[in-house]
Subunit: 658 residues, 2 copies
């Protein structure tokens, strides 16, 4: 029978998240995460009780050290254990300090993977973690299954860098991630290898974020990094050859989008490519700098994934990897709001995949995360950051005195998610719902400013400052009532006097709200000026931030250094989500897309066309000014068009001409 | 300035305990612990704020990956960072998956070790862990600082083993622990190396607990193991040479004992040697088999150490290593009683060393351990094991139905220890004391059997079974009142109708109680028959268990296999403690031996003499039937002799002739 490597539930995700997160380097220094590390449980025990009607054998392979117990007799790994027909009890114990303790039980009669339980030596047993790709004893579950493709530079030229060192500049034509291979080196030479997402960065000597020196070798494969340009000093053009092993996650693209605005199509493609590069062990913020999973950034990535790959595995890896294990001693990424997004995302996860199994397995960790968050409540029940907590919300001039309104909005949303998840887990949701309701009435008395017709940031400072953030959440999370909603739209969203959002991160939320209220003009203007602006400057992936008023290499500066800005940042890919959600108009109305709605919208465009994943199937939407075509290969779809609902059957083209 | 490797408080102990505990092997298989594993925090951050009046430098060395932040500027490890005079903020961040993340900050102007704080990236900072021995960047804190000595076998002979294989038997003359080195091997031969604590075991082929096959080598150093005999098959006497690198903890022996009974002197020496072999990264149960730290066994080792080495470090390592980190999801060693001994031992630790610093640092982990224990309370407040908990007490026919009396005795003692420790930590002890008092009155109503004049094991079974265990605890822990005490002595301790204790483990407690009540005859009879019995059979170290009715190799069988009994078991060394505590009669009457008492006792002997460590000093006691001499090199001593108290000064011989 086919066997698989097995591990403690969650540990694969936690291990790979740890390894990935602590691979960061900057200016020649290793740069571990700013938050606590989580690694696998070192001692684990696997259990199987199973029956066979014929004789057979078992052989244990371990990643670590351990043994096999068959019917209470102990055997070393590698030993072939013969068993007779009948019921058998199999236990495997494994230990490993570092890495991922795992067991592979080869057998011709007993199953692997599902059916096995695992414990970190406590009374609680969980189903094992396993993945079909790890199907031979020779494979290591510590090796992440990326795909590779050899890529050659499209151009090479001899240039000097800022230090006036001679060298060769290789241009791969677009942003890439992978291993750089260099051949033709002279062992007696020292070579400098400078990475650039921009040409300027590659030529900036030690102002480049990533560089490395090589000597004593004739060829070398450097570690995996992001780049478009590679500048090699200490050589001339003819001596060395350089290529890259592009490393990527093999994902099946299911979402597409095309419209009659070619620039928008290029934007969509740039967003797709940017997002793909950032889909790795987990979602990344960006591929050059942090390469860390951030729960707020991930919250947007879940939505983008829903409209592009609908890949459940990467959602799971991100959710588990961000959360880690108990005890909870710190917010996710140290950020109060990021703990809340993590909880909220789980309700979305259920709507997307209808996967109760995963949610039941993670429920205990959800509750301890929630309990940790709730220790931050003040006497009003509002969340307030404590020493060591980062109250982020956005890089913006929010008045963060005391309890911050936007945090309470997220808390209300998270409490509703807790209620939803509690019901799934067979527990009572009442306390969460009651707390959410109480909080809504309290935020209305503490934060709602009737005169301004908006929520203020802080009630403690007395400044009564209004920013967009809390008000956007009040709309998106259905916290504002109908009249507050109208007031927020007029007094905040459409008001020029409320400071603009400046980060693409929060712009994602704003555009979501703008599309929600039908302000497609705002969205399309942003696509043109912001995303189109980057395209015009030659971007091949979406930048972490873009300010059209800057010039040349000024664009690449951030966080106080010349090239610290990421030029391939996942949070810039929200158009994939927004075009799928509001233009193609597809969304689930029951968990796992058992039912879904198509509510398409041209906005200011003349034609749109594309597909959106809907659970096991996809739905195709084509809309022009005179006709609408919808086709899904799965049942459950309802079309909402001009105020009317149309059920449409699976597998047939449904067409309206008007 | 001298720099030292630094790590997160507790992680050194946890790391080395993990590595040691998961080194167990049996019959060719690796044998990880039966309980959960604890390893170091993977991501840690070190902080120092310090001032220098002259310019200097800093260079970071890391065990793992990380960087140095000096005055908020980041540097890679290995970089020499120049600093000027003034106040500086130094931060080091390190990550490592597996092993012990650590930092070594070389500097000519800033200090190392004390003054640095460390956090596992949460808001709480603790003093760093460091040890003077790790004083150079070339050393690894993952290497435990044992001492080594080359030892040659005292005898070698050609023999055949049970399988009739020819081979050479090497006898080292006594129990040893270390690395076996073999030279003169032929690479084309396969050699079997069989370890024996007894000659029979070494010749028992694969019935020996430890064996290994070697081929393809001319010389080999095998892994560290316990043995007295080594049998090598596949060679004849002239071909190979074999020696051992004896590995031991360099401890300063401070306690001594001598008396006019030569056999007792040999017993004391055997106990000392046995105990020394079991003093390693932590206290072990035994050096051949588990090599695990067990909290109940350790409870006796703390006491033995107090009378032999008074080595605070090994106590600390054992305490921290047994406890691990939060969350608590399992009892220590899975055993309910062992969680309780762990708490109780901390009060003893304070009495022994007067060390409040350590207790304040571990206090948080004490409270979470206690909270975990208290989740096992039933409606009466009695502790009852839950699924996954092992209610051990002893290998004995205790009636373990429901709440077991001996557990409640330990709980009462642990609650008093909690009260003691809470006071030290500046917290209220009231709740613990109140709970202890309530429990005493409840055990008296539920477990005290007035007719039998003893505590029964279980009130739920209705069997009203009496064993020695709970009653011994009631005496030792001052739970029984004066009349119950008398009753227990007559009806249990001195009664032949109550089943005898059969394990040396619990015999330690019984002998303690016997000496406490002045029944020295019982103790001396046990020394003669039990310990003397082993000596007569040629033992060089104390066995895990001894039954004089057995014959030959029968002695070596245990746990269902022929040689599984440990022949070098720490719990057999309690005579070192008992002779020091009750014969030399020395014990602390204030924390850290700020005051101590000498209350000597000849028992049935004619003369006793020895030294006992008392804090920073030692006290010498010499007692014959006509004279008593006491001399301490430290103040604080009071002699109690024939009902009278004598204060005796430091540094002077105090002599009574009578």
């Amino acid at each position: 029978m086919q066997a698989y490597w097995m591990w403690h539930w969650g540990d694969y995700e936690i291990y790979h998240t740890y390894i990935m997160s602590n691979r960061r380097q900057e200016f020649g220094a290793d740069y571990p995460t700013l938050w606590h590390g989580e690694t696998a449980y070192p001692n684990v025990e696997f259990h199987l009780t199973a029956e066979t009607d014929k004789p057979g054998y078992l052989t244990l392979h371990v990643n670590g050290k351990g043994y096999l117990l068959v019917d209470y007799r102990r055997y070393a790994d590698g030993v072939r254990v013969e068993i007779g027909p009948g019921k058998h009890t199999v236990v495997v114990r494994v230990t490993k300090d570092g890495g991922l303790p795992a067991a592979y039980v080869e057998s011709d009669v007993l199953p692997s993977g599902d059916g096995w339980l695992c414990t970190h030596m406590t009374a609680e047993k969980m189903p094992v973690g396993w993945r079909p790709v790890y199907d031979s004893p020779a494979m290591s579950p510590e090796q992440f299954p990326f795909s590779y493709e050899k890529v050659n530079p499209v151009k090479k030229e001899s240039v000097q860098n800022e230090k006036s060192a001679d060298g060769v500049l290789f241009d791969f034509g677009k942003e890439l991630f992978g291993y750089v291979d260099i051949n033709g080196l002279q062992p007696e030479n020292q070579y400098g290898v400078f990475y650039g997402e921009s040409r300027e960065e590659a030529l900036a000597d030690k102002d480049a974020l990533l560089f490395e020196y090589v000597e004593g070798k004739t060829s070398v494969r450097l570690t995996q990094r992001a780049f478009r340009y590679i500048f090699v000093t200490g050589s001339d053009q003819d001596q060395i050859s350089l290529s890259a092993a592009y490393e990527y996650l093999p994902l099946k693209q299911r979402g597409t989008f095309r419209c009659d605005n070619e620039m928008f199509n290029r934007v969509w493609e740039m967003c797709r490519y940017t997002f793909h590069l950032n889909c790795r062990e987990t979602y990344l913020d960006g591929i050059k700098r942090d390469r860390w999973p951030w729960s707020g950034d991930a919250y947007q990535s879940y939505a983008i994934n829903r409209y592009l790959y609908m890949d459940r595995d990467i959602d799971q890896r991100t959710i588990v990897g961000l959360r880690g294990k108990d005890p909870v001693e710190q917010h996710i990424n140290t950020i109060l709001d990021y703990s809340l997004y993590w909880i909220i995302a789980l309700e979305d996860y259920h709507m997307t995949y209808g996967d109760e199994t995963f949610l039941k397995l993670i429920w205990k960790r959800v509750k301890t995360q929630y309990e940790f968050v709730s220790t931050r409540e003040n006497e009003q029940g509002f969340l307030v950051g404590q020493p060591g907590d980062w109250t982020f919300i956005d890089w913006s001039e929010i008045d963060k005195t005391g309890a911050v309104c936007a945090e309470q909005m997220l808390y209300i949303r998270a409490l509703r998610a807790m209620a939803y998840l509690a019901e799934l887990a067979g527990e009572s949701s009442a306390a969460y719902l009651e707390k959410a309701d109480t909080l809504i009435s309290r935020i209305n008395s503490f934060y709602w400013d009737a005169e301004k017709g908006a929520y203020i940031d802080s009630y403690e400072s007395g400044r009564r400052n209004v920013t967009r953030h809390a008000n956007i959440f009040a709309l998106l999370f259905d916290i504002a009532d109908a009249s507050q909603r109208e007031s927020i739209i007029q007094n905040v969203l459409l008001s020029d006097s409320v400071r603009k959002i400046t980060t693409p991160y929060f712009e994602g939320f704003e555009l979501d709200a703008m599309c929600r209220i039908g302000n497609f003009g705002f969205f399309e203007d942003m696509l043109t000026s912001y995303w189109g602006g980057m395209l015009e400057l030659g971007a091949t992936t979406v930048w972490e931030q873009f300010d059209p008023t800057k010039n040349g290499a000024e664009h690449y500066a951030m966080y106080g250094s010349r090239f610290s800005k990421s030029l391939c940042h996942a949070w810039g890919s929200t158009p994939v989500y927004l075009l799928g959600r509001y233009y193609l108009g597809v969304y689930a109305t029951a968990p796992g897309y058992k039912s879904f709605r198509v509510e398409p919208q041209l906005g200011g465009l003349g034609e749109i066309e594309g597909t959106v994943p809907v659970g096991e199937g996809d739905v195709y939407v084509h809309l022009t000014k005179s006709a609408l075509t919808v086709k899904a290969d799965i049942a459950g779809g309802t079309l909402l068009w001009q105020g009317r609902e149309y059920a449409f059957p699976a597998g047939e083209e449904f067409r309206l001409v008007y």
